[in-house]
């Protein structure tokens, strides 16, 4: 009896696992099915490296948007990573217990706020502020990056904090027992030992940043161009799909799916790089034993 039960549970789990894989495979297949024709008729190279996106003139070059996505993501990581890691160190090691008990759930809640709310905040508060401070329309790469920074901070903070807190207590004890100060211990022992987890937090933050759509549409200005400065408006790959899918037909419609293919490829490449760094770090600091 228990043996049949056992195999039933195992089969059931197998089926659910397989069906989720099939689902993802089907989605990817569908995107390629719809996207490949555009790449074929317009030319793969022209599509990926083309500088002009003008569906009315049959111009489908996504290169400015690739740069746009990378630039927004890069700039927001540049702001969010130092802020997030500092905050994580503070929460894990320095904040008194009572403060931690308030701050941790607050930050975790921030991670759950829908992106449209952040976008709306950016649109109402940040865009006018930028307009007054730096001129222009206020819709810019910098504005989008700031909104994204706020959105990915909670992820980086909470995952990094977990990483720092899960460094074995013995390391901390050993370091303090040698006569090092608290800060020396954090800097030389806890932080290096937590780096694999911290890299994970950055990967997760990056994933969210590059995939974010709505909040960026609301504040980035969405002009298809390679930004000359951080105050120029930009369009991200994600925004491109969301903005135009409502009215696209024919090759234009296929080109939006092809944009999705490019986005997917880009995310995969970034993840591979990030995972490689993560793996390498693990091996070098732990000698393969961590």
């Amino acid at each position: 009896m228990s043996k049949t039960n056992e195999s039933l549970v195992e089969k059931g789990l197998l089926i659910t696992a397989i069906s989720s894989i099939i689902l993802i495979a089907l989605i990817i297949l569908f995107i390629f099915w719809e996207g490949i024709p555009a790449m074929q008729s317009y030319g793969f190279f022209n599509f990926v490296f083309g500088m002009d996106w003008s569906p009315s003139d049959n111009q489908y070059g996504v290169f400015p948007m690739i740069i746009g996505s990378l630039a927004i993501t890069g700039l927001s990581l540049l702001m969010a990573v130092p802020l997030g890691i500092s905050c994580a160190i503070f929460l894990a090691e320095i904040a008194p217990n009572s403060m931690r008990q308030i701050l941790r759930p607050t930050i975790q809640t921030l991670a759950g706020i829908p992106s449209v709310v952040y976008g709306f905040f950016g649109l109402i508060i940040l865009v006018p502020f930028m307009r007054v401070q730096f001129g222009g329309t206020g819709f810019s790469m910098l504005t989008a990056s700031i909104v994204l920074t706020v959105m990915i901070l909670p992820i980086i903070v909470s995952v990094s904090e977990d990483a720092i807190r899960s460094v074995p207590y013995e390391y901390k004890e050993a370091s303090l027992a040698l006569g090092s100060t608290h800060w020396q211990t954090i800097k030389n022992v806890l932080f290096p030992a937590a780096i694999p987890g911290i890299i994970t937090s950055v990967i997760l933050g990056m994933g969210r940043a590059i995939g974010e759509t709505l909040a960026i549409i609301m504040v980035a200005g969405n002009v298809v161009q390679i930004p000359g400065s951080i105050f120029d408006p930009v369009r991200a790959l994600t925004s491109n799909i969301a903005i135009e899918m409502g009215y696209a037909t024919g090759i234009h419609y296929n080109a939006l799916f092809a944009t999705g293919i490019v986005l997917m490829a880009m995310i995969i490449i970034l993840l591979v790089i990030a995972n490689y760094l993560h793996y390498k770090k693990k091996v070098t600091i732990g000698g393969g034993y961590l």
Partner: protein, 250 residues
Amino acid sequence: MDRIEVQDLNVYFDDLHVLKDVNLNIKNNMVTALIGPSGCGKSTFIRTLNRMNDLIDTFHKTGTVLLDEEDIYDPKVDVVDLRKRVGMVFQKPNPFPKSIFDNVAYGLQIHGITDKRMLKEKVEESLKAAALWDEVKNKLDKSAMGLSGGQQQRLCIARTIAVEPEVILMDEPCSALDPISTTKIEDLIHRLKRDYTIIIVTHNMQQATRVSKCTAFFLNGEIIESGSTDKIFIEPCDQRTEDYITGRFG
């Protein structure tokens, strides 16, 4: 000469009374063993001597602990400096996830030694003193996590003596090790006692008799009996000590 004098020490974690009126003098350049059943306060006691208990929020104490006739709990005392003078080796070998060299160099670096040649010399000296040099001299840049448990523990001892403490506290340093590694550590203790004052917590009676000159027997947070190891193991004054060392409880 007494290196450490503990007078009427009472230690509490919240309301839990862990050490009760402990009085003990630790002699200079000698090995003192602390024995007693699990949970009797031996570890808490040695952690009081380098103020590691300060890390626990609920810790508080009464009584005095003198190191070279100075109260180590005096507000003027720099805890960081105290821990440099009173080193500690833990029960579970706990090398940092760094290279063998960096593990030993770490303590030196945080105390301001940056000169490469000087670091090299000191690391070699410490590893030799910890009887580990011959086994690791060709792989100093390899991770310490790849060493065996016994080697890791000797590395931890090397790391501790690199910063030149006056006193070394050892909290059951051999409990996680096999007999051969244990012998190596005990030999090491014999050699180190010439230069250092050593306090070792152990559950192993034979180990206490092998390495120590003085012994203190703890039971339920009190010192039942302390004195020369020979006397405690051959003719203990207290019935409870005799029961413990002959294995009738604990």
